[in-house]
Symmetry: D3
Subunit: 136 residues, 6 copies
């Protein structure tokens, strides 16, 4: 069993905001992340897949092909976007790094080729905050 990780990145705006709460309560719970006017991040995304190397090509999956799938299914919908406003699959969710990580798994998992299993989505919101999800 081999594990291959492809790193990608995207830039986006968001805020942490619970629509059922007052602005005061949102600020109390989320601090400056609740700024009504948004803030943003350069997100680093690490997608790890696992499986066997193909005996003929020596590759688990062509890293360029994996990059293409990630860009089509994930990056295009998130890069230079407002996570709360522009992303249909995040519409009714709190745009925390945790929820975003799980949502990226769900977007990507159905589109990997046969023989390649999604193992981990790792998302670095800042150089000091990293979230990982392994699918369950």
């Amino acid at each position: 069993m081999l594990f291959l990780t492809r790193a990608e990145h995207f830039n986006a705006a968001h805020k942490l905001f619970h629509p059922g709460w007052s602005q005061e309560k949102n600020e109390q719970v989320f601090g400056p992340c609740a700024n009504e006017n948004w803030h943003g991040h350069n997100y680093d995304l690490f997608v790890t897949v696992k499986g066997q190397a193909d005996p003929e090509t020596g590759m688990l999956i062509d890293a360029k092909k994996l990059s293409g799938i990630i860009r089509e299914r994930v990056i295009e919908g998130l890069d230079h976007k407002n996570l709360n406003l522009d992303v249909p699959y995040l519409k009714d969710k709190l745009c925390s790094a945790e929820n975003l990580t799980v949502a990226i798994w769900q977007q990507l998992e159905p589109h990997l080729p046969a023989g390649v299993q999604l193992h981990c989505i790792k998302l670095n919101e800042t150089p000091r905050i990293h979230v990982e999800y392994f699918g369950s």
Copy 2:
């Protein structure tokens, strides 16, 4: 002459947008950076000052003190903010990395202690886009 650089960072939302242009023209000129709903970045800021080391302390300036000045005069006003909406001194400016770099110089320069000259503001908007300004 010695040069001391202090690295700080902040997260913010912005868009590139000329108010005198249509949304189409803004998108044509600025591409995805013109997204009406904003996007954002983790900005890395490098402030370089120059001068002589104090013979008694061996220091040009205490790096913690320099950090405190940068945080008070620059970071507090930018971190977790919307650059276009929340920052008085950027109100009528295009929030490009270039204009932001010059504006940070102007905010910081008057507040450095005697004997310490501001030499360079370097701002990394992403790991691949860096702007430097030396004051003129």
Copy 3:
């Protein structure tokens, strides 16, 4: 199950030194790390916790709150300190990266809030030497 990692850092002096051995034997076993006069490092600390995201906040734990706990329970006692002389819980231990990693686990683990489990302490003593401990 989600995993959230918070990165922190501290600077400290130490030496590798077995009090029951001669200085020669210490130098033979530990090499330049046994220098009687100490040496030091910028330590990078990565604390990983695991659990469920809170349905209301979308967060496993507020990263700022986690950072506060780590700083109070770990960083304040280690930063700008001599690990061999200044840290009560390392007093009779060899201050290797391995022992320090386990000791950080023990300091931090009792202070995490309900619903958040400590998963891993990772300590980078240098960019080329990393130690991980998972609690057993």
Copy 4:
């Protein structure tokens, strides 16, 4: 159980090339990696071992000693080399990052001292492509 990782690096040339295929088919499958005239990389290698810390030394293994074993058994044979032409144990293999990672495991694993188990070989071919192998 503790895990210790040592980072090393080497520079090498290679190409992805199946000898039973035409140059056209190789280029179709491997893209620019099939360039007949070779290309190359700065490889970052992370070797993780696991075991107990020695009660007397506080160390799982002296990181300098581990580095010495990795350099003798792996780096010397790969650094400033052509992976396809100069490395006996890669002679009949496709020099993919996946196959290279497994081959490094096989070179290193028999030479670790008693009490120290090889846990993971991680190889970064570029900053955006990482392969991990855990031995089976």
Copy 5:
């Protein structure tokens, strides 16, 4: 005057080799870099341009446009190539980092738009070897 840097990268094979010297003399002068069978690197390229920000756009030059020029004029001809064999403008030159840096300046400088001056080409051959050229 503002300075904008765009980071790009490419992977390539090369060797250091003087055609008028014996293989022995080449190995004596260039060490393992003279390996007849080539070795290679992940090169990090930093292109710095200077000029005034356009008052309407706030930009010195659109970083995406600058990236496009660098890719067309420099990266496409070097990425996944053998510097000694595949690059017409390096044909009769020693493919040292120094000569490559100057050659990249010469390739790029004529193609920058009016109002934008090339200031510096910085090339990192490895994380520990960096070359800079300012045009004279």
Copy 6:
């Protein structure tokens, strides 16, 4: 004119301490850096030299040779040392990053080969504090 930078690193202990002052005054001026029992850092050192590339070798100076000079003249005397106690040329100086940077220049400058001029010593005491000295 070409500029070549070689990166090296060393680990050391130090404290900021003025012998003519009380411990209270030292702590008031230098804060936690005045801890009597020392603290320490992983220092990153960047040595930049300038000159012409040799027409025969294409190199300003062999980076391995430059590394050897830096290690012999600077690193060996500082690595795994106490800067205040173990380094003769720092004996009566405050071991600030500023003074250390100037002292490294003085140690290294006389030992560079003909045709190679020292241009800059850059010392990163932490990832957020960098000092540069250009020789005057």
